[in-house]
Symmetry: C2
Subunit: 343 residues, 2 copies
């Protein structure tokens, strides 16, 4: 199973420091309300362009009664990748940033880490050594810091981290680095009767802590990778323990499998940003009737990051070819979004 | 993994024929509408008694604004076991009845089964040989008949079986052998803002075919055991293939794990009928605030079946002890239900 973590765990250590170009720290964005409280869902941060038109045309076609493409509300399932699609993923997946921060926080009570090179690389912030960490090293780090506790304890740790950690480039809490246009899109879809889901390679319990506030997506609509878990009785009280063992890896071909397992309906709308989303987009597109498949293309080095075919994180190569062949919607972030973040 | 199938796959072959006491075949029950269309959700098939009062007291306490036990609607999660809790499970789990029927249907195109004793036992309806089948035999039978196809093909087969197969004792379609009082309870809870889920040892794709019609529970609220699945491209079209390999076994301690994985919230209401539901009931009860835990006790040999501590199927022993210790609601089917089935 170890090998399957590769993509998820790639550590973009080389770019970690180089990407930290300092800019004025903006004040953290206000926590956003839930979708249900948004009075009118608009796509205000989307410039008039091909992507915005593709979205509104599709939504009109499947929701207008009498339309030949009409889809009943209960089948309006929309799935979104998270890292790089709903929030940023550079210089590395934020859950890995959390794991590295946890190593630093927990080090005093783990003297045994002093003899482990992987942990030492993190603790010394040694960029050369960090760049050489293997998947096994990273799995060891994530396992040592994010398992071996119960779900409630883990949730508290994520909450604490979000409240205190700041992104190295923008100096804001990680959960404010969500894309305002995508949040608007989620609200817009829900206002038209869609049920919105996250389907991410990230770990499901990590995302649930903040997904409701950030996206208006409740815990039961968050699908992700998972650690194995075990039910245990401690002093007559049941606990769900997180085990340092992969439960399910929700990336690439795993995404349609997870969608079928958790939802049991084929989505009619899917958005991703990388090759890890290719099969989810293929699965969605191949259903009968009108479908929407979209890719966020990271083209904005100024306001966010610019990367695609050669990126270690969020590599967009095969999926970009397929999108061009199939006529999927490719969002040019620089041209089509009037703003990126809400802050 | 094989051993973990034991409980789910126990074949109650000895009781299969003896239970076939013939009675006048009633006409199949009409398909029931969805919860949303039921104008007033009542508990008409529940006699006035301790179980009915425990249910209505609980629902009033958690839904009345200003009540000290009030729970917001989005946290009103109710989970139900299926076999023996929402529909019958005798003389054996209905999905196993399906597997045996499939062996008979598929035999002509599987000449190799002629040399396999397990398949021969089914084909000759040899009750002595059936009683001796091992878990491995049964796994082989289920694997051979219910995997190796894609999800759409499997769904068609279940549909076809439900349309033609008849239960050996009541001579009705299996999906009409749902409990009318439990269907009323599901409607009643939903009318009070609850989200109702199935959490069953049965296989998720099997249940999704008929759960919406039978219970008003949509596919995305059905949680169950699963076979591993694989995404494959066939002639440019994606398919999800069902593999003859256990994915997740959703019984006993697996139920709280599955609930946390799929829902990410702890239920406030849980109903089961056997030892396989013990941990789900413990997990639900141990949450903060007021909780409801219930057991259907099969006490009605006349209208359904009577069994508990020594039953091979639906054994209710440890969970009954725990229910008595904790004061959980134990439904005496014979005394507390004015009718069992809708037909």
């Amino acid at each position: 199973m170890l090998g399957r973590w590769t993509a998820w765990l790639i550590l973009c250590a080389a770019s970690l420091l180089s990407a930290c170009s300092t800019s004025k720290p903006p004040s953290p964005a206000e926590a956003q309300g839930q979708a249900q409280t948004v009075p009118a869902a608009t796509l205000a941060s989307w410039n008039d362009g091909p992507s915005r038109r593709a979205i509104t045309d599709f939504v009109q076609a499947v929701t207008q009664p009498g339309s030949p493409d009409f889809v009943p509300a209960e089948e309006r399932i929309a799935v979104f990748d998270n890292d790089g699609t709903l929030w940023s993923e550079q210089p590395m997946y934020f859950q890995l940033m959390f794991a590295l921060d946890q190593v630093r926080t927990m080090a005093p009570s783990h003297p045994e880490w002093k003899t482990k090179p992987a942990f030492q690389a993190v603790l010394r912030n040694d960029s050369a050594a960090l760049a050489k960490l293997t998947t096994r090293d990273l799995l060891q780090i994530v396992g040592a810091t994010q398992t071996g506790m119960d779900s409630d304890q883990y949730t508290s740790q994520v909450r604490q981290w979000l409240a205190t950690a700041r992104h190295p480039r923008f100096h804001v809490p990680y959960n404010t680095m969500t894309y305002a246009p995508m949040r608007e899109l989620l609200d817009y879809l829900r206002a038209h009767g869609f049920k919105t889901y996250i389907v991410s390679g990230g770990e499901v319990e990590f995302m649930r802590v903040w997904a409701q506030q950030a996206y208006g997506i409740p815990p039961e609509q968050v699908i992700g990778s998972s650690f194995a878990a075990k039910f245990e009785m401690h002093d007559g009280k049941p606990r769900l323990m997180r085990l340092p063992k992969l439960g399910f890896y929700d990336d690439g071909p795993g995404k349609p499998v997870a969608i079928q397992h958790a939802i049991g309906r084929r989505p009619i709308f899917a958005f991703g940003n990388s090759d890890g989303d290719l099969q989810m987009l293929q699965w969605t597109s191949a259903g009968a009737g009108r479908r929407f498949a979209g890719l966020v293309h990271h083209t904005d080095a100024q306001r966010e990051w610019a990367y695609d075919r050669d990126s270690k994180i969020g590599r967009l190569d095969k999926a970009l070819d397929e999108a061009q062949r199939q006529g999927w919607t490719i969002v040019d972030m620089e041209k089509e979004w009037s703003r990126v973040y809400a802050f």
